[in-house]
């Protein structure tokens, strides 16, 4: 994103900027597609295509178009400049129906004229007709166009003018004393092209018809109107095609631009800037920020709740507690615990063969939980698109909810594939278990001993007295101590088991929430960030295209 800008700046300093700016505009059009207004993007695409075509074609030529109203004397000026009577001149309006082209210089301008859509019968190669004079060599590389009018009742002429005005490198607007204030030229051409004053000349033709002494004030008035259009520093010349006054100055002004060979790129650069400016207005320049941490956390919470994490965690706690208690409990009554069902198994979770293909039996998200998730997604999208243009805000919102249909499935998979099995028996449980069994053995020994003594006494065989410890018979002591200790160890085990279960539940909670957060990131946050990135990309590309 910013890398693009930096790279672009570096390249710009190298001077070959127009190609780069056209490419940037192309990129902006591509990444803005589907988000920004289609009509504006199509316009921009047209600008890109035109610029690329023009750059591909002859850079040695400069296309200069004479444009203006019917009767302003475009054709007469054309004839004066070419020194040939090519263009039809007359009093019947409109006179010129077709654009006429004249090319100066030895280079072949056929491709360029083809691109301009001027048929061969309306083209003239200046040097092929006449021997070279100084004038002609000064104008070498000029392609002069005489356009039809833009204001007569012939609407087809207007369309031709609109097309060629877009293609010319230098525009010469021919005005006359009667028509210089017409809305047709100011509203439709000059004002919309206010950014293009560098590639424009304005000519007040038929200056000979002005009453003596009013020439200066009329020219000043023309400049006033041009300023009102936003064209403050465009050169204004007074000419008369009839008397020839001012035509040499016009020729010189054109020749200067032709020799500089910069008009074509200047025109395209202005087009690209203006288009980029228009798109920027649609696109906005607001800075973006990553989605807020607390918003993401709220989303994760809502999703965890909807996915049933609390239910699973509760089940893990209970399941773990049950198993640990059973493992550490008094072995002789362990079977009682087996009657209870494992809550994890109930949810189809926690078994070793849990694979991604299994669905859990967790209850589907309730409408309340679903509503919480939707609200969280909405808040997140709104937060992330704060300050963006409504069209981008809309597409961010769309991106954030694009995956909502299969979100629940994904959450379920995340729960199922998160290993929360409680199969591994920890060391302390084994130790407790060993002690319990040891105590059972001791108890059995004691009991057996007592039984043996009882048997011997019953059979009246001898009078063996078991050893006594502080007045108690050893077998009795063994039995009693083993049972009491067993129960005590079971009780201790129970307490430790509960603590361990709580710990396991916390662990499961963390892992499950991690898995949920991963789903949230993949299904909601990432698409949203991708949309923000597309916005930034468009914005930055437009900045490059705009030459800033």
């Amino acid at each position: 994103m910013t890398g693009l800008v930096v790279g672009a700046r570096r390249l710009l300093r190298r001077g070959d900027d127009l190609v780069l700016r056209v490419d940037a505009l192309q990129e902006a059009v591509t990444s803005g597609r589907g988000r920004l207004d289609d009509a504006a993007l199509n316009d921009a695409q047209e600008t890109v295509d035109r610029a690329q075509e023009r750059l591909r074609l002859s850079g040695a030529h400069t296309v200069v178009a004479l444009a203006g109203a019917t009767g302003s004397g475009k054709s007469s000026l054309f004839n004066k400049l070419t020194g040939l009577d090519l263009a039809a001149v007359g009093v019947r309006r409109p006179t010129t129906s077709w654009a006429l082209a004249c090319a100066w210089g030895p280079d072949d301008a056929a491709d360029l004229l083809g691109w301009l859509g001027i048929p061969a019968r309306h083209q003239v190669q200046r040097t092929s007709l006449l021997d070279t004079s100084t004038d002609d060599s000064r104008l070498a590389g000029l392609v002069l166009l005489d356009l039809p009018d833009h204001d007569s009742t012939e609407v087809s002429h207007h369309l031709e003018v609109d097309r060629l005005v877009k293609h010319a490198d230098l525009l010469v607007w021919v005005l006359d004393p009667q028509k210089y204030a017409d809305a047709a030229i100011h509203d439709r051409y000059l004002r919309p092209l206010a950014t293009h004053s560098d590639v424009m000349l304005v000519v007040l033709n038929q200056a000979d018809q002005l009453p003596a002494g009013t020439r200066g004030s009329t020219l000043a008035d023309v400049r006033r109107l041009l300023s009102a259009d936003g064209l403050h520093d465009v050169p204004v010349l007074a000419t008369s095609a009839r008397t020839g006054a001012g035509v040499d100055e016009l020729r010189a002004a054109i020749a200067k631009r032709v020799r500089a060979k910069a008009a074509a790129t200047a025109r395209l650069a202005l087009d690209v800037s203006a288009t980029a400016q228009r798109l920027t207005e649609l696109n906005g320049t607001a800075a973006t920020s990553a989605p807020g941490k607390d918003r993401v956390a709220a989303l994760d919470d809502a999703l965890a709740e909807a996915a049933g994490v609390p239910v699973v965690v509760q089940a893990v706690r209970r399941s773990t507690a049950t198993r640990r208690r059973r493992a550490t409990g008094w072995p002789l009554i362990r079977w009682v615990g087996r009657l209870r069902k494992d809550p994890l198994a109930d949810l189809h979770l926690g078994t070793a063969d849990s694979t991604a293909l299994v669905r859990s039996s967790l209850p589907p998200a309730s409408k309340v939980q679903q509503a919480r998730v939707d609200l969280a997604v909405r808040d997140l999208a709104e937060d992330a698109s704060r300050g963006l243009d409504p069209s981008w805000a809309r597409s961010v919102r769309t991106a954030s909810s694009a995956n909502s249909a299969d979100l629940h499935d994904a959450l379920d998979q995340a729960i199922v594939s998160t290993g929360i099995a409680v199969d591994r028996t920890p060391l302390w449980v084994r130790a407790f278990n060993a002690v319990q069994w040891l105590l059972v053995v001791v108890a059995v020994v004691g009991a057996g001993w007592l039984a043996a003594l009882a048997g011997l006494a019953f059979l009246q065989v001898g009078a063996y007295q078991p050893p006594r410890v502080s007045g108690l018979a050893l077998p009795t002591l063994l039995l009693v101590v083993a049972v009491v200790l067993g129960l005590a160890v079971a009780a201790a085990g129970r307490a430790v088991a509960d603590r361990s279960a709580a710990r396991a539940a916390r662990r499961a909670d963390v892992r499950l929430r991690g898995a949920i957060a991963a789903v949230a990131d993949e299904r909601v946050v990432q698409p949203l960030v991708a949309e923000l990135t597309a916005y930034e990309h468009t914005r930055d590309a437009l900045r490059v295209a705009g030459g800033r």
Binding site: D151, E154, A181, A183, L210, R378, R397
Partner: protein
């Protein structure tokens, strides 16, 4: 042709038509509405500026409006016709100043401020105020005729163009001025075409034409006039000639135009005929074009209805979803269930509950007595769930309505007027929803208290307390096995059984069913009210458009009345 003495009925009918046109609702940005708005405004001004004043004073002098392009030489022509400099001509374009009306001193009364073009203030000195009408009384103008120098129709000054169109619409006769450089321009021809369409009397003056090209240009112009339906319009040529120091053309050059105008002023019948032709054409045109406006209004009605429907269906859907969520027991799951179970007793009781309801009831009693605080927990969990549900449904309805409006142009521009906050629930909805839920719970407790008024003293009532019974009622309200799956039926259904049994023990079977239904209806009604207020934000925008079901019919009725009067006049 209308009768020379138009009836008062026509004036009345046209006045009503003006009102209806003025009031026609065209606010929605449906495609091509700008054009209809423009023509509606033009029709209203034409009725005010010309048709109505002219009908009332049919004997007023004939008003010839000199119109045309900037730089075609209108002012010079007017000055030359009058024979003295009454309006400033210049080489600088466009010229902004008040339009000048030149008349005979005897006709002054006809051009008072309450007559033709009533909006324009009257002045007797030259001014640059484009909203004023500069009156000049000159005796070189024959009585019964007035000449109005209008601004250009095609310069960069929008105000000039608008005023020119307005003045031309108020003309009995157009004196259209064009030049050799101008005669094929598109803009003036649009005006000429419009004039031809409504049979306005037009005379064309070809001005500023070099003598060598006069014939060719004149021939071409005549052909163009014929092809545009202006065959009968007189075409005068004023050859290009030097102007005098006063800025007047050679009197010889304008003699044909001047002579024609003088003849017209002398011939009252011809004048009346021109006036009647133009007036009748104007009325016919207005009546005809009113149908376009009526169609556009009908379109506004249709679009308004469809936008209204879009908004309504978004909110109805949210309401239906919400009602379903309240009824299928899902509110009870999750947190509510956990709190309820805590409240009732231990978690694992559900499995055996069916068989041991009575024992559980005892535990319930114990729970209520032992931990009075948990009734609050359950009710706040219920409240929280309800709040979230209300909020999300309001949000999704707003988003859906916003989205469907955004997909149409008129909807989009309406939304823009509201500064784009309609895509979300209103800012204070969170708070309002909270209050509604609280009020509902309050109301529910109130009902329980009232219902139990005569049972206050019973041991059971005392045992559970108002809060405990209220919570039980809430649970019963939301419990329904519909829509629950698997083990949940056992949990939620079973959960409710406890509450149900407890309540039945206190109030009796019938009463519990009634109370639950009542509480549910109350909740649904509150939700409906909340969403209604939300929907109102969209509806208000549409109401502001003002297109009701009769709008188009009213416009059509008004124009039909005009047509009837004209028909009757013609039959006589």
């Amino acid at each position: 042709m209308a009768s020379p003495r138009p009836s008062a009925a026509l004036t009345t009918a046209l006045t009503r038509l003006r009102q209806e046109l003025q009031a026609a609702p065209l606010r929605l940005d449906v495609p091509a509405v700008a054009k209809v708005r423009g023509s509606r405004n033009a029709m209203v001004s034409q009725l005010e500026d010309y048709i109505l004043p002219r009908l009332v004073q049919i004997d007023a002098p004939l008003l010839a409006v000199v119109g045309g392009s900037t730089g075609a030489g209108k002012s010079t022509l007017v000055n030359s016709l009058v024979g003295r400099s009454v309006t400033a001509a210049g080489v600088l374009r466009p010229t902004t100043r008040s339009p000048v009306l030149v008349h005979n001193p005897a006709d002054a009364t006809w051009f008072g401020p309450d007559r033709i073009l009533p909006e324009l203030a009257r002045t007797t000195s030259p001014s640059t105020d484009i909203g004023a009408l500069h009156l000049v009384a000159v005796d070189t103008v024959p009585p019964g005729l007035a000449i109005l120098d209008a601004p250009d129709v095609d310069s960069v000054e929008t105000a000039n163009r608008t005023l020119a169109a307005q003045l031309l619409a108020a003309a009995d006769l157009w004196l259209f001025v064009t030049s050799a450089a101008r005669y094929a321009d598109q803009v003036p021809w649009e005006f000429l075409k419009a004039a031809a369409e409504r049979s306005t009397a037009v005379a064309v003056v070809l001005d500023r034409t070099a003598p060598e090209s006069v014939n060719e240009v004149r021939a071409h112009l005549a052909r163009m006039l014929t092809s545009h339906g202006l065959r009968d319009s007189p075409l005068f040529t004023v050859p290009e000639s030097a102007v005098s120091a006063e800025g007047l053309l050679d009197p010889q050059a304008v003699a044909p135009v001047r002579g024609w105008l003088q003849e017209l002023s002398a011939d009252a019948t011809a004048r009346a005929q021109i006036i009647a032709q133009t007036l009748d054409g104007a009325i016919r045109q207005v009546a005809f074009r009113t149908h376009e406006v009526a169609d556009a209004v009908a379109e506004q009605q249709r679009v308004t209805a469809s936008l209204r429907h879009d908004a309504a269906s978004a909110y109805r859907r949210a309401e239906a979803d919400l009602t379903e969520a309240l009824g299928d027991g899902t509110v009870l799951r999750g947190e509510v269930l956990a709190r309820w179970q805590e409240f009732v007793g231990a978690g694992g009781f559900a499995r055996t509950m069916e068989h041991h309801v009575s024992r559980l009831r005892d535990r319930f009693v114990a729970a209520v007595r032992g931990r009075g605080q948990s009734a609050e927990d359950v009710s706040s969990a219920v409240g929280h769930g309800l709040h979230v549900l209300l909020l999300e449904h309001a949000e999704s309805a707003a988003e859906r309505a916003h989205r469907s409006w955004s997909s149409t142009e008129p909807g989009r521009s309406l939304l823009q007027e509201s500064q784009g906050v309609l895509g979300r629930a209103s800012r204070d909805f969170r708070e309002k929803a909270e209050r509604a839920v609280r009020d509902w719970q309050q109301q529910l407790l109130e009902v329980v208290r009232e219902e139990g008024a005569d049972k206050r003293a019973t041991a059971r009532f005392l045992a559970y307390g108002v809060n405990g019974l209220g919570v039980a009622l809430m649970v019963v309200v939301f419990a329904s096995t519909a829509g629950l799956t698997g083990s949940e039926v056992g949990i939620a259904g079973g959960t409710a059984v406890v509450g149900q049994k407890v309540l039945e023990a206190v109030f009796g079977d019938q009463a519990v069913r009634r109370l639950a239904a009542q509480a549910r209806d109350d909740l649904v009604r509150r939700a409906h009210d909340l969403l209604q207020v939300e929907e109102e934000r969209f509806v208000a925008l549409l109401d502001a458009v003002g297109a009701d079901e009769q709008s188009a019919d009213r416009v059509r009725d008004a124009v039909r009345a005009v047509d009837d009067v004209r028909q009757a006049a013609r039959a006589r």
